[in-house]
Symmetry: C2
Subunit: 126 residues, 2 copies
């Protein structure tokens, strides 16, 4: 199965340093904001969570469309936005397209927002 690395993953500055530790550079912010923008829609967030909850496996697009009252083309559009933001990848096999998450990209966004180090030293209210 071919799984090409996306450009967003090739940028080491876009990965892994919590913002409570170090302020973002302009370049890093651009790549990371693209990821968050893709997550900033309830349908896309649910689509991603349905794929992610498959415990490291793949999800057929046919299962994803069944989970929503939206049309197939609308679901496909949202999946394309998630894919272009580097959050998921896919492969067509026969009739269907299968999707999976890109853990490194999700981890980078998660780690950026990780406040546990700061929270531990300053208390839980700020």
């Amino acid at each position: 199965m071919s799984r090409q690395e996306l450009p967003v993953l090739a940028d080491p500055s876009a990965c892994c340093v919590p913002m409570v530790t170090e302020a973002l550079t302009e370049d890093a912010a651009a790549g990371l904001a693209r990821g968050f923008k893709a997550l900033g829609d309830p349908v896309r967030l649910r689509l991603l969570s349905l794929i992610a909850a498959r415990a490291g496996g793949e999800v057929c697009v046919c299962e994803l469309t069944d989970a929503f009252t939206l049309t197939g083309p609308t679901i496909s559009h949202h999946l394309k936005v998630l894919r272009e933001a580097g959050l998921i990848d896919c492969q067509r096999r026969g009739t269907w397209v299968y999707y999976w998450i890109v853990p490194a990209r999700l981890a980078a966004l998660s780690q950026l927002l990780d406040v546990s180090a700061a929270a531990a030293s300053t208390g839980s209210t700020r």
Copy 2:
């Protein structure tokens, strides 16, 4: 200092369960997507990181405007979006407004994207 809890923080379903563990409900996705949407802009992401990097402290709006080539009203608009999404809070004292992060909200978004449990069991490439 008055620091009122924001509605987004009062929703327990909007907090803390990684999406690799459990798919999101429609209601939870709406609240969480609002947070990610606010992060989906490079200027807002840099503003948030400048506030977050102050190690649990506050940042005067005067310092934030100095860090960008944007106008004061543009910076204020972006700060308002971050505040309305529950990511930061603020207080006016004298001439200036002071901003700080809301760690619980950042932690909820971070934990939602945490793939470490799944990554540990399936390897680093997916």
